[in-house]
Amino acid sequence: MSEIEIRKSKMVGKQSIIFHNPPCIIAASSVAGKKEGEGPLGPLFDIIFEDPLVGKDSWEEAESKLITDAAAKVLQKAGLKSKDIRYLIGGDLLGQLIATSFGVEDLEIPLIGIYGACSTMGEAMSLGAMMVEGGFADRVIALTSSHFAGAEKQFRMPLDYGNQRPYSATWTVTGSGAVIIADRKYANRSNGEALILIKGVTTGKIVDYGLKDSMNMGAAMAPAAYETIKQNFEDLNIKPEYYDKIITGDLGYVGKNILLDLLKENGYDISGNHMDCGIEIFDKDSQDTHAGGSGCGCSAVTFTSFILKQLREGIWKRVLFVPTGALLSTVSFNEGNSVPAIAHAVIVEAE
């Protein structure tokens, strides 16, 4: 490869991309449930539903409604119609992505359905940014959702069954977050706020350290976050201080400590600038959420409310957003398999 070709390449290191013309997040929306609304980030959410069924008959329909409303809200905030959107990239935790399929039905936007468990927001934003920067789309929506009761029903026990949650267990966030990623020429700069750009991504691999406890997802996912973050540092040849914040999705208290330990052993100290959405979204003492929040919605609503606000207001200049996912199923768990995990990193900058 000639020098010019190397310079033209957007591939960096083993697993990363740095965009030449970074796409822009032109709008974002966050929809959350009552418990999330009562949490520390409550005042920042666009819509809060007091009713866990959001006026629907089942948990699954309720989750679809969260997606529908998140998509409608993000379009409204951007002043766009659904026909202005080229692709919709999204997914959720329910089997066969039914929350997404039913939730986006009326939008009539070409859909790319993805499954990354709780890392879905990172995966959707990565793909959306690549499509926009590659010229395959002018505007895309990336969205995801999760619902506490729907996730409990699918992965754990019926809600009213009397059992005790271990301290390592997380609480699935009821909520949906959506962003519109577009070429920067579509960004509205009239209000003087900072432009939010997706500078690059590091796509994660499946990481499995042989942990089988499905009630300790933080510990199962921490190695995935560790490997993706380490890869990002190596690919870009940077130090942790390059970022104002390194934000993981839903490691919770147990996973956070493991991540810090693992990175420290490699000579990277991120204890000063690490943050975890699962820890931020609930107040563990008053809300009894044990290890913290989890689910696709956890990182999505934290990103679209709190993280974007910090970037827009210039409090942070550059963050590494790393949603983490545990890719187990009830079948793989019952058959005695360990919990494979993944983490996708997205570099987000304010300009």
Binding site: L159, G162, N163, Y167, L211, V254
Partner: protein, 167 residues
């Protein structure tokens, strides 16, 4: 790798062999994951379980007082406790009780009733047949199956012992 590395974070990061790395990681995770205090849990289970049983004894005494014989009073008591458990499950209270009481709410008959009622409530939306019908015993099913199986097995052992006049 030496033993001192077991369960330490360097034994995870530095171990080239994946199997050993995973073993080290599992040990390390065990050390850093907080767990319930077993004694505190036992005490809570003892108190809550004891209260449930005392309520049961109260019902037995009451039914005997109003004229039932001992056998009948026990059956009425079972019915009453099962009814109360299902009612509390439907109202979403039993779950809260179990969060505190743990095994104290699981072991008495009320726990069994809760494990049948909870899936019924959850799966009602999926229909009378494929929802409630198919899934009502998702939690209690194993107890019923292996309960019947065990009593069958014991019955055979009892029969054989009886043939040889041991019992």
């Amino acid at each position: 790798m030496s033993n001192e590395k077991k369960g330490s974070v360097s034994g995870v990061v530095r171990e080239p062999d994946k199997k050993k790395r995973n073993e080290n990681y599992n040990q390390y995770v065990k050390q850093v994951t907080p767990t319930f205090s077993i004694w505190k849990n036992c005490l809570k289970a003892f108190i809550i379980g004891g209260i449930i049983c005392t309520i049961g004894q109260f019902f037995i005494n009451y039914y005997m007082y109003i004229g039932a014989d001992a056998e009948m009073a026990k059956s009425y008591n079972t019915l009453t406790l099962v009814f109360l458990s299902i009612l509390l499950t439907g109202l979403g209270i039993y779950q809260k009780l179990a969060k505190f009481g743990g095994a104290g709410t699981l072991v008495p008959i009320t726990g069994f009733a809760n494990s049948v009622a909870a899936p019924a409530v959850e799966y009602k939306k999926e229909g009378q047949v494929f929802g409630i019908g198919c899934k009502i015993f998702t939690i209690a099913g194993p107890v019923i199956l292996y309960g019947i199986f065990t009593s069958w097995l014991l019955g055979i052992i009892y029969y054989i012992l009886k043939q040889y006049a041991v019992v």
